[in-house]
Each structure stands twice: as C-alpha cells, then as structure tokens.
C-alpha cells in the first residue's frame, strides 16, 4: 500500500505540471481558437531565461519575476501579434503548422545558443524529505503539487468570478455578442495570451528542477499537456487539472506494474479512449458548431 501511495504522490506532482502546461492550451483555444503546439517550448524558454538571470547573480524570485515580464511581452503579445493574429484569418490549420514549426525553431535556437547539454536548475522548494504514513515525500513534490493546484484553481476562479475573467469567457463563447455588449475583445484575447505566458513561466519554475533545463525538455511535456487538456476537456480548466493528474498517475502506475517501456503509451491510449468514448473530455461540455 505504501508503494502504491508513493507512486500516487509522485504521479500527482508530475500530473499537476501537465495540467499547468495544459491549461495554456485550453486558455488560448477558448480565447482565440489558437492551438499552440509550441506550448512545451513556451515552458522551456522561461526555464533558460530564469537560468540565465540566476547565472547573472539575481535571486531566484527576482529572476522568475523578470522572466515573467519578458514572457508576457515575447510569448504573450509577440506570439499573438506575430503568429496567431495574422494566421488565424486563414483558419486553424496554418496556426497549427506554424506553431509546430515554431517549436522546432525554438528548440534548435536554444540548442545552438545555449548548448545541447542538460543544466541543473535551482528548486524553489528545496529537497527535504518527509515520511508521511510510510510514504517518503519531498518538499519539492508537495510544493509543486500545491503550487500547481493554486495556479489552476486560481485561474479558474479568475475566469469565473472576476469581471475581466467573465469578459474573457464571453469572448471565448461568442466574440460577436461580446462586441455588442461592449467588451474590448482584442484586449481580452491579449489577456489570455499573457496569462498563458505567466503560467508557462510557473510551469518552468516547478518542473525544471526535476526535468533539468534542456533544449528538448518541452517536447514530451507539450505532448502530455495536450493529451491532458483533451482528456480533461478542452473547454474546462478544472478538466485540464483532472486530465493532467489522470495522465501523471496512470503513467507512474503503468511504469511500476506493467513496464517502463509502455509508460509513454499510457497517455496516448487514454487520449484515444477519451476521444472515442467521450470526445468532449471528462469534464468538458459538448459544443455544437454550424458548418
């Protein structure tokens, strides 16, 4: 039982990171119909930003804050204006292809500019050990899980309970009606891109101590985050949290009780199963589209 709990705790921590990155997918999709397949690289870039600023002697919180500010401009505003806005006029496919290309370009740019090697990354929580009910947990696992939960639920609360959040949801549901009731639609969409950039920075801060900072660290993370978002429900933030946790825990259990070789296949199998049985995701709502 203790072993099962050990795997569960570890899977929850990993799954919460998938959820955090996956939340970016749902935010951008809801706000502007953008499918960002460079989401993993949007986590990788801030990781190197924080690392570079820490290398200059800045304390970790300051390096994180500066990276967030830069990310809002570059990964938020820059991405929206440079890629999403011009390509969305031609439909979803050009954005999908462009972000796939962007992910390759970003990986190779970091590889060429920084190095292809993995780099150690400081942990914001430290790595003290605790024994709880026969399970060894680290401060980093607990901290990651707690921070990810706070961020995902906080984002959900922001969207549901604030005027700005509701305006963003209104834009996501029907941009034309949102204009009629006086909502500044472009601004709301920009907010969604900015929030996504900050969430990516938070994911970078939480996941990189374990994954290590490496140019290709976003590759698997981006894929798992996408699976998590679809499994949980692409139009529901809490669904993404559930999807991330389901993927993280199932992966861990499969690696321990079946084989490590099948670990990566678990997320894909769940993804396919959900698409076949419940296409709107575990907590998502079906959306009808006129064609």
């Amino acid at each position: 039982m203790a072993d099962f709990l050990q795997l569960l705790v570890s899977g929850l921590a990993t799954g919460s990171i998938y959820a955090l990155a996956g939340l970016g997918f749902t935010l951008l999709w809801q706000a502007s119909g953008t499918l960002n397949f460079a989401q993993g690289e949007f986590v990788m870039l801030p990781a190197f930003g924080i690392l570079a600023l820490s290398g200059l002697g800045l304390p970790l919180p300051v390096a994180f804050a500066v990276t967030c500010a830069v990310a809002v401009v570059v990964l938020g505003w820059g991405f929206k204006r440079g890629i999403a806005d011009p390509l969305l006029r031609s439909g979803h496919m050009p954005v999908v292809v462009a972000t796939l290309g962007l992910s390759i370009a970003l990986r190779n740019a970091v590889r060429a500019g920084y190095s292809a090697e993995a780099h150690p990354f400081p942990s914001v929580f430290g790595d003290d050990l605790f024994h709880i009910a026969g399970v060894v947990v680290t401060r980093i696992d607990l901290g990651t899980l707690a921070a990810a939960l706070v961020l995902v639920l906080g984002t959900q609360a922001f969207l549901a309970r604030t005027v700005t959040g509701r305006a963003m949801q209104a834009v996501a549901q029907d941009p034309d009606s949102a204009v009629v009731v006086g909502i500044d639609v472009p601004r709301m969409i920009l907010y969604a891109f900015a929030v996504n950039a900050v969430l990516a920075c938070a994911a970078a801060l939480l996941v990189t101590p374990t994954y290590l900072a490496k140019f290709d660290m976003g590759e698997s993370l981006g894929t798992k985050a996408f699976f998590a978002a679809v499994i949980g429900g692409f139009n529901n933030a809490r669904g993404t949290l559930l999807g991330g946790i389901v993927v993280g825990v199932c992966e861990n259990l499969a690696a321990a009780y079946v084989s490590a070789s099948y670990k990566d296949a678990v997320a894909l199998a769940l993804f396919l199963f959900v698409l076949l049985v419940r296409p709107q995701g575990l907590l998502g709502k079906p959306v009808e589209r006129r064609v």
């Binding site: 050990q6 060894v136 290590l212 490590a260 670990k263």
Partner: protein
Amino acid sequence: MNAKLPAAAVVACLLAASTAHAQIKIAVIQELSGTGATAGTNFKNGVDLAVKEINAAGGILGQKLDATFEDTQSNPGVAKGLALKAVDDGAFAVFGPTFSGSMLVSMAQTRRAEVPNFTGADAATLTQQGNPYIFRTSFTQLISMPRVAHYLASALKARRVAVIFVNNDFGKGGRDAFVKAAVAAGLTVTADVSTEAGQLDFSAPVLKARQSDPDALFVYTNEEESARCLRELRKQAFARPIVGETTLAGQRVIELAGAAANGVLAHVGLTVDAPIPAVHEFRARFEKAYKYVPDHNGIKGYTSVFFLKAGIEAAGKLDRVAVARALHGLKIRAAKQPGVLMDVAIDDHGDLDRASFIVQVKDGKQEVKEVLPPVARF
C-alpha cells in the same frame, strides 16, 4: 615551350606548398546534441585540446593535424552517414561516435575504407566482430563489469543486488555483462529493471528496485538519466550502497544530481581525480580551455589522439593499414608519450588495459578509494 614554363612553375610551387602544409585529416564524429550530448561534447573537447597541443609541438612526423567536428545528434542513422562522409573526405582516422548503437552501424564504413576508428563506446560486442580498425579509448564492459561485481562481493560484502539499466545498446550490453559477472561472483540479482533513454521520471524503477530489498543497487544508465535516477533514489530515501560503472560518478552526473550524488560508488577506468600528476595537469589545461571540469569522456577524447600519434610513430609512416597493425599489441608508456596520461596496452582486438579506480562521490567530488593495477606488464 616558353608558354609552358610559367604553368610548370605554378604547378611546382603548388606541389611544394602542399608538401609544406600537408595535414593529417581526422574526423571527429560525436554526439553533440540529443541524449549523448554530455559524453560527446566532452570527447570532442578532449580531441580538440590534444590536436592543439600536438600541432603546437610540431605535429606528427612533421605534419599537422586537421580536425573536423560533426554531430551525430545521438542518432545511429546520422552517425552512419557522417562516417561515410568522413571516409569519402579522406579522413586518416575517425574519432567516434561514443554511443555503442551508433558505433555498431558506423564502424562498417571505416572498416571498408581501412580507416582507424577510435571510440569511447563501451559495448562488448564492438571489438568481438574481428574488425581490425576499431580501437577503444576505455575498457570494454567485459573487463570492467567483473571488477564491479568483485568489488560488490568482496569489499561491500553484498549478496543481493538490484539492477537498473537503460534499454539501449550501451545499457543492455552493460547489464548482460554485469549480471553474468555478478552471478559468477556469487551475487543474486533481486530486480532487473529496464528504463528508457531520455526517461524523466524514475519513481517507478526506483520503487521496483527498493521493493526487491537488495544489499546494493547497480545503476547503468547514460548521464542525464543517471542524475535523475540518483535524485529519485534520494527522494525515496534509498539507504543501501549505490554502485555504478564510470558514468554514474561522472563529473556531469555529479553536477546535475547535486547532493543526491554523494555517497555513490563507481568503478572508473578514467577519472580526472586520479592520483596521477599527468591527469591533474590535463584537468587544469582542459578547465582553462573550456571553463568546466572534464569527465572521463574528456580524457578518452584527449588520449585517443595520442594513441593515434603513438601508432603513426610506431609505424613510421602515414599509412592507415600500417598504423592499425602497429597499434595492435602496442604498449604505450606515459613516460615516452605523456599525452596518454597512464601506461596503456592495446591488444589484438583493439581493447585496452591500464590501471583503473574505485571512486566515491563526497561533497560533490570524486575521491579515489582504491587503485586497481593493469593486468598487462609494462
């Protein structure tokens, strides 16, 4: 007739110039990106340093070395293509790749062209195929694993050992050699856990190893995976001895794993912390040139160029076949060829023998616990 004179003069001048600047082309094919980037980059920098030093000292038989560096991207297919390109470009010798899987597919190209091929790959099968142009820069797993198993059984008094290995040619070869040696040394393998190259989460493999209640754990994975595995072992409070072979106590693993690397034991064929003055001096020169402490792959790369130098000098001419023949059975004494750092003997298969070490990581540094002498007599 007069019109032909200037042309003849130009040709003569060109010939003279080419003789004066004749160079020995060497192709360095390494894992500069992908999962083998740490090993490949160290090896490449080691070769680069050796080339600069040899050229500064006048070259080999009066000719300078001209090195080109290529990235296999840790991909066997790319490695094979690069080996073919090196051969077509007329390389005198090829250095790499370091990944055993890449080496297995690329060495056919260098063999076909009769080009000496130096490698840091560990898989035992590489030198068992009768290829006369393959030369190792480190121990084969068949030499190193019995030393690890003997250390576990005799010094650590272990009876039960769990194994975590990476599921690639390097890992499987090491796992097979270790399990065979462990059984021969009277050890029982309690868990045999396979992991994937590039694996990020080691909670399940570590848990499986822990559940088997071993006296010690043997870990045989690549650099980044080793660091992640050590972090997970610390996370799960694994309190038994953790033992590895070379990679596990490598400098890069120590940097990536942080405090989790402390206490790790490993048999290493090469270490920059060896109690040998020549190795200390090499470490200082490398650190000055590349701003970081090299690992064993840096030493492999550096010494391999001096193996080639010793081979060419023993052959007395720049003839690839003659150099390969001269290298087989060659004993290179560090007193005469300081670049090899330690006395080394190359056998008829291209495998080598020299002293090795048992090290332990303490406060983020390797400490040599024991020096194991070479079998060969110098």
